[in-house]
Symmetry: C2
Subunit: 467 residues, 2 copies
């Protein structure tokens, strides 16, 4: 049996064998730590003075133990760099350690990526974000560092969002009814739980949409029934009494890119009022609109029947994991019952930083700048493919749909793109398996994804692979 000692000053944990001399015990404990790989090669040990003080023993004892291990080759000592675990110490690995294999969604990265779903990550406003973080950290009350007291999230961010969403997206947004979440998937997971708790069994979805959203609903026990999608958006007139909710992308249908027409919006709201159903509005790229067109949030038509969902994933960066829901009055408690009172998921400091970022006007400035950048790319895309393919979905957002000419298949175009080291996505993978939609061969081009420097060659590669 070994006794276990902790040396708190230096935060170096050592197992000192009982019944041995101090020096021998210390030497063996250090040797074992290095040999077993617990202390990785290169780890700097505390100074002999500091370790001796922490262990309450003579400094010489520590120095002698160190010297012995240097002589044995377990440690190295160099002027100015202190005593470190030597490189030769082979790390011990537990039996199955090498067998750990984690599936990663991305294989090798292609040189160029025009798949939809990501903004230009190189444009993240690092300096402005840091400025906001500095102010947020300086101004934060102490309680902000503690366990969250409000399961909806920090009031500062809910207030900033309420102002912004009302002004920029036409949302009726009371801070009391905003619930923060860690992105759209988290928000939809909470809503799916809430719908299940209400005994809803079926959710209508758009016939074209993201499979991860459909899968998430299915995993929560909700059957998804596809609506048709045409040039006016989802065919909301098809909504029946069977569905308890409908998930829509009114501002810019994903992936076809059309805006839901006023008539279709009215039909959705009528359905909700008549049947008591709920509309889940995914306003995923509502900020990016390039032409003057009707695009207010659907939520503005009936805040009592629409849950509005937005995120910073397209406008800033997915890595922030910041999302928000504007929930009808009667449903706030039900959503929070699913969210739970104990698991808040996103850092208070990030919430305060985003609040400051919005309040200071930096969010608007960033969105405006990105809008110009994306619009320019869209125009360049249009110019590059004009006359060769049909282009749609271009009034807004970060992607467009290119309909391929007769004879060309999605698969062949995506395959030749892969040969050019260009990642490209097809339209058909977004089809609901049960959707009743006419056949359509098209690729979905995410022109927001590349950095500025990668954009021009990516566009050239695309141009080369189109039939």
């Amino acid at each position: 049996m070994t006794d276990s000692w902790a040396t708190f000053g230096a935060d170096l944990h050592l197992d000192l064998s009982a019944g041995r001399g101090l020096r021998a015990g210390l030497t063996e404990a250090l040797r074992e730590a290095a040999r077993s790989g617990r202390l990785a090669a290169g780890t700097r040990l505390p100074s002999s003075r500091s370790l001796a003080a922490d262990l309450g023993i003579a400094r010489n004892t520590v120095a002698e133990a160190y010297a012995e291990l240097v002589a044995e080759g377990w440690l190295t000592a160099r002027q100015g760099s202190g005593t470190r675990v030597a490189e030769r110490a082979r790390p011990r690995r537990s039996a199955a350690a090498t067998a750990v294999r984690v599936r990663r969604p991305a294989r090798g990265r292609p040189a160029y990526n025009l798949q939809p779903g990501s903004p230009d990550l190189s444009a993240f406003p690092r300096a402005a974000w840091l400025t906001a973080a500095r102010r947020a950290l300086t101004d934060a009350p102490n309680e902000a560092f503690g366990y969250a007291l409000d399961p909806r999230g920090r009031i500062e961010l809910r207030e900033a969002l309420a102002g912004y969403l009302a002004r920029a997206r036409g949302v009726y947004a009371d801070p009391e009814r905003i619930v923060l979440c860690a992105g759209f998937v988290h928000g939809l997971t909470l809503l799916a739980g809430m719908l299940r708790a209400r005994r809803v069994r079926e959710v209508a979805v758009e016939g074209y949409g993201l499979d991860i959203h459909r899968d998430l609903l299915a995993k929560a026990g909700l059957r998804t029934r596809p609506l048709g999608v045409d040039e006016e958006g989802a065919r909301t007139g098809e909504l029946g009494a069977g569905a308890g909710a409908v998930l829509l992308t009114p501002a810019h249908q994903f992936p076809t890119g059309v805006a839901l027409t006023p008539a279709r919006r009215a039909a959705a709201v009528d359905w909700a009022r008549t049947t008591g159903g709920l509309i889940l509005e995914d306003d995923y790229d509502g900020e990016f609109r390039y032409d003057r067109q009707p695009v207010g949030a659907l939520q503005g038509l009936d805040p009592d029947r629409v849950v509005y969902l937005g995120t910073a994933s397209k406008s800033l960066a997915p890595g922030l994991r910041m999302g928000w829901m504007v929930v009808p009055p009667g449903l706030v408690e039900e959503v929070l019952a699913v969210k739970g009172l104990t698991d808040w998921t996103s850092s208070a400091l990030d919430q305060l930083t985003l609040a400051e970022f919005i309040r200071s006007g930096a969010y608007d400035r960033h969105v405006r700048g990105m809008r110009l950048r994306y619009r320019r790319r869209r125009d360049e895309l249009l110019a590059a493919v004009a006359g060769r393919v049909g282009v749609s979905g271009i009034a807004a957002g970060l992607h467009a749909v290119l309909d391929l000419p007769e004879g060309a298949t999605e698969r062949s175009v995506i395959q030749s793109a892969a040969w050019q080291d260009l990642a490209l996505g097809g339209l058909s993978r977004h089809r609901h398996p049960e959707a009743d939609l006419p056949p359509r061969a098209a690729v979905v081009v995410g022109y927001g994804t590349p950095s500025d420097s990668a954009w021009t060659p990516a566009l050239a590669a695309l141009s080369a692979v189109l039939p």
Copy 2:
């Protein structure tokens, strides 16, 4: 039917009635936005030049509409502060808005708080954290701002933690087997899901522990069976074949404060090896130890049978929502299957900041500083209550247990504390309802909770209410 226009430059969304003059339409849309409360009082409108440019109309048209609404009292215009929505505009609230009521865990805050579970929030190292955030933001690769590619979390943080946990806590920590999470509750939720997927039905827990952890396990479909707790920690010899896992706090039992003895540790590991059971090690305040004593992580005894869980909630701040698990090799994929490939929950920037904070030595410095501060408070607590109550659990952590003398009840002491505006917690509320434990009247004093300035009066209030 109204047409809806969005003005993208200024990000002000307006509904312009069709079939009217431009100026009349604009005036009405602005009046409606202010009247309905969508634009809150005080909201600053874009300049007439900017709005005109965005709408593609003459600046005069906008200026006239603004002037008309100022005359009507809906807007105010002041030199240097621009045009804003006037205060008199009453916000429209949807019918049930005033009925939103959110249960908050905290009622009014007491003047002094000696309940356990929180570190001193006033000591959060704001400047050092900001320094780390600045470096992390500067050094971050662009992909860090995107959707996470590894469901375990950023490799930078997993590597920093592996080094720290090996050095300071005696953990065998391979970055490949570290899974980041948003705090202990999130981690335990993931493990509960993993255990359920393995068809485990019962988890042994300590007879004294946190009810939110027991409730979480129960909600996941796991029955909890209590172990006895005495002066050597949890009675791990009571572990039987029925439980598939055991949740332990070996470094500093919560709430009794004792360290699990070597014999009890060995018994737990023997049980795990014999039955194939799993040990979940909650190392919740492992960094804070004041006396030289055996306190390495239990995980060091058998990394193949122990899941180690740690967080930054006690060492830094709960508001960061940062936790980590060191998972046995064979279980990483099973844990990730529950975590999901799409919901990463914590911000990449926070992960990179914490990695930098650890790497730079700021984490060690902060922990050492806090250890001195908490030890001083512990000593002051001991001095203040000496001879009046039995004190235990004082070798480590942020709380101590005060056993009340014959005749005094928890309830009476907590009640008189409340009269002094002092929040105090009893021991009995942490008892598992089925635990076979001797009766014990005691209060659990969290001496880490107050700020430095509140500590002295809090201690005086405590002293006044003890029998």
